[in-house]
């Protein structure tokens, strides 16, 4: 949920309407969850969950295989998968692009903890072009303070550059 909220917040900082919400349920840190984000130039009124996403971020690679993480993905959609194995068995729908990034390693190196929210944000920004680097950094700096802000900006930046090179 934190990743979804941060992405929506960064998009909002970038000047669009945004909405982020969890697949409602038990709030236990680390439990497998889904969260959803919408962006729009107009005020967002729709409240249903998202069934046909344009973009999918898979934060936990161990879910792949157990859960159809790409369900409903549209043609021309983009998926960002946190994995160290770029050749993972993905069953990606036809016409969708997949970017892989080892966000866990980047997060461990930059933040010292395997919390991948901000790293994946950077990857998402680069892969989709929906968020520019500047509002992203602004979003991170208003959510984190001091050295944690610097570290998160660096982690996001590394992912941004890495994916940016692949786009």
């Amino acid at each position: 949920m934190t990743a979804a909220e941060l992405i929506a917040f960064a998009a909002f900082e970038g000047g669009v309407y945004a909405q982020a919400f969890p697949a409602f349920g038990v709030e236990r840190r680390g439990a497998p969850v889904q969260a959803f984000v919408r962006f729009s130039d107009e005020k967002i009124r729709l409240r249903s969950q998202i069934y046909e996403p344009d973009y999918i971020i898979v934060q936990d690679p161990t879910l792949i295989g157990d859960v159809d993480v790409f369900m409903g993905m549209k043609e021309g959609g983009i998926a960002i998968v946190n994995t160290e194995k770029p050749d993972f068995d993905s069953r990606v729908p036809e016409g969708a692009r997949v970017y892989t990034i080892d966000a866990t390693t980047i997060a461990l190196e930059e933040l010292g903890v395997p919390i991948t929210n901000t790293t994946l944000m950077g990857a998402f920004a680069a892969a989709t072009g929906e968020i520019k680097l500047e509002p992203l950094e602004h979003a991170l700096r208003s959510r984190f303070s001091g050295s944690m802000a610097d570290k998160n900006v660096k982690a996001a930046g590394r992912a941004y550059n890495q994916i940016g090179g692949a786009v």
Binding site: E13, I44, L46, R47
Partner: protein, 384 residues
């Protein structure tokens, strides 16, 4: 200025700026984020309020009742089973004419246990004498708290109010909202002037016992205050619009109703999804509109009848069920439209957190136009 935040946080922030003097609440999903935020604000001395920790919802509202009777502006929040546990105190608070404002993070009632959204909880308290306002989005949820205090504390009203917003669907959603500053809230909402208060130097008993010679008259007075609350709401909503540009003077609000043949009637966050669905149906030439009910109590029967004049088919979306007689809103809309000639159908929908999509709204409109209604929508017949 638009800010990006969680619905619960927006409500906590606006409650803070309404300057409650006493807060008593018991945490329960999905209301928890609101009261966690408020407890933190009290601990940080951001609000000059007493936060009374209690062991149950019954005690929470009892503490609020006492504090209100003593002349404080008070606040609480709850949902579902928590509200059920407050049942007795709710009736007393209204009968004692205490202007308590309580947020309801709408949730279903057990059994079976469900933490997810519908509106069964507040609607089940429809006869308690509390005003009930329903928010479509987090902006409206925040704004309605300011209006609620103004309406409740009006000496022509003196009744408590629920500000209802859908659990999880709004409480846990992050979206942009504009929050008035403390100075702006102060300019809109003056300090609480109690009509009468408990005072050791001048003792008073509230809610004294009434013999059969008096009881009915007291109930009549509460009902009349409910009726007067309509005008008080319209006035407070208009003043809000004048000051902040968002007008809430309407007890019901139409969306693309002007030339509509079929009208949906709904309350709360489902109205947003319905509006998007209506836009799509309109693109296909379907003359569909929405009537959103903002104040369920007092019930705006006349306003509904006026707004739906000329509509031939009405489909009421009920996120509750009055077991044995269909949805509570549908029953009342039918009575409001009695004799109008419109065909009114009721749909029990989205109970216990069942997601509602645009295509579901369109399917309901199809059913109503075919004359099929007064039913549960979207039942999974394979498990029955």
């Amino acid at each position: 200025m638009l800010e990006f935040m969680e619905g619960s946080h927006a409500v906590a922030e606006i409650v803070k700026r309404c300057r409650p003097q006493v807060i008593a609440a018991y945490p329960i999903t999905p209301q928890t984020h609101i009261v966690e935020d408020l407890a933190q604000m009290v601990a940080n001395c951001e609000i000059d309020a007493e936060y009374i920790t209690v062991e149950s919802e019954f005690s929470a509202l009892s503490a609020c009742l006492g504090a209100s009777a003593a002349g404080s502006r008070v606040y609480s929040a709850t949902t579902s089973q928590g509200l059920a546990l407050m049942f007795e105190v709710c009736f007393n608070a209204a009968g004692m004419r205490q202007p308590i404002v309580m947020t309801i993070a709408n949730r279903s009632l057990g059994a079976p246990l469900s933490i997810w959204n519908d509106q069964q909880d507040s609607i089940s308290l429809r006869d308690s004498g509390w005003l009930q306002f329903y928010a479509e989005d987090n902006q409206e949820a925040a704004d309605l708290h300011m209006i609620a205090y103004k309406v409740c504390e009006d000496h022509d009203v003196l009744l408590p109010a629920f500000v209802c917003f859908d659990g999880f669907i709004l409480t846990h959603t992050y979206e942009p909202v504009t929050l008035p500053t403390q100075e702006e809230v102060d300019a809109y909402l003056p300090a609480f002037t109690p009509y009468q208060r408990l005072d050791a130097a001048n003792p008073l008993s509230l809610g004294m016992y009434a013999t059969p010679e008096y009881y009915m008259e007291f109930r009549y007075e509460v009902d009349r205050a409910m009726e007067r609350a309509k005008q008080a709401f319209i006035k407070a909503g208009r003043e809000f619009g004048e000051q902040f540009g968002r007008d809430y003077s309407a007890l019901v609000e139409g969306y693309r109703l002007e030339d509509a043949d079929t009208a949906l009637v709904a309350m709360g966050s489902i109205c947003g999804t319905a509006k998007d669905a209506i836009d799509e149906m309109r693109e296909h030439g379907r003359k569909v509109g929405l009537l959103k009910i903002r104040t369920y109590r007092p019930f705006p029967a006349q306003e509904i009848a006026n707004a739906l004049k000329g509509v031939s088919t009405v489909a009421v979306l009920d996120k509750n069920i009055s077991l044995g007689n269909g949805g509570a809103v549908g029953i009342e809309v039918k009575s409001a439209l009695y004799g109008s000639g419109a065909a009114v159908y009721d749909y029990i929908i989205a109970l216990g957190g069942r997601d509602v999509r645009k295509k579901d709204i369109a399917a309901v409109v199809d059913l109503a136009e075919k004359g099929k209604g007064d039913m549960f929508y979207g039942l999974r017949t394979e498990v029955l």
